[in-house]
Subunit: 156 residues, 2 copies
Amino acid sequence: MQKGSLYSHIESKADLLWEVAREGAEAFHAALDGVADDGPVVERIRAALRAHLRVVAEQLDVATVFIREWRYLEGERRDVFLAERRRYEERFRSLFREGRERGELRTDLDDGAAALVALSSVNWAYTWLRPGAKTDELADRFTGLLLDGMRGYSSR
Amino acid sequence: MQKGSLYSHIESKADLLWEVAREGAEAFHAALDGVADDGPVVERIRAALRAHLRVVAEQLDVATVFIREWRYLEGERRDVFLAERRRYEERFRSLFREGRERGELRTDLDDGAAALVALSSVNWAYTWLRPGAKTDELADRFTGLLLDGMRGYSSR
DNA sequence: TCCTGGACCGAACGATCGTTAGGGTGATGG
DNA sequence: CCATCACCCTAACGATCGTTCGGTCCAGGA
């Protein structure tokens, strides 16, 4: 297809970015929806990281916009997108909060930092992940490290 | 300054990118050089994360290239840069390896994953960090979380 | 059968980008 | 006092980008 032909499908480049950004938000939220909302928090965290990395690996185009290119959205669209993005992060955070409140995670856990580090790991993975990588195993390595830490042994 | 005037200082845009990329590598390696090479590994990890985040906050331009824009380097320069970058990551990894070997960290620690998650946190921070943030405190929150994990309590 | 509408092409537009060339300024040192 | 040099400007170039427009091709419905 020639570049001009694209314009029988879209109105403008900005519109296209907006569409893909919404697709991205939808994909990541849908992936999180697939995570059970009961059962051991630890397993739900593992499932959430797996789900996120799976979207990155299987829908690289929309993931690119959701993770990086959204910054070029303008005006109200930017705000709407950012709200959707913050909601996504909040869903992760509430996972950690729930784990703390239930006593399945440390009672002094900083759930904000926890969500930040977890999402940093999977978002940064976007940077270097090669198509065809075993994302579930990678997610599990992240989960293991984040849960039990590097020092000493857990009280599991 | 007008865009044309720039060319009395540089040869080409690619040359400028290459210069800044090297400055970036130098800045991050120099920051790591400031971390003691003996003493408790835990404290050295904390210092390394602090050092990295400090470069991000105080030299945002070179950090941008070191973290993100290096991908537009071409040919041999790209290879040279990538070697320097891998060496940087390796310096982090060897910190964790040493901690494991000395028994200051878990003996079953996956030091590759540990370095990856630690660097993911600070590199992703580049994305959202606002100038004027308290980077040392942020680095310490990362350190605490990574060392002790989210589950149970450390054997500290 | 013809008509319509959608998908794509080809060519062109204005704007921006990386770069070059030529010229002007002002401080410095012989 | 003048030559030099670093530094910056203005103007223009070719290339690329986002977009428009007129036209061609083809499938489906009337």
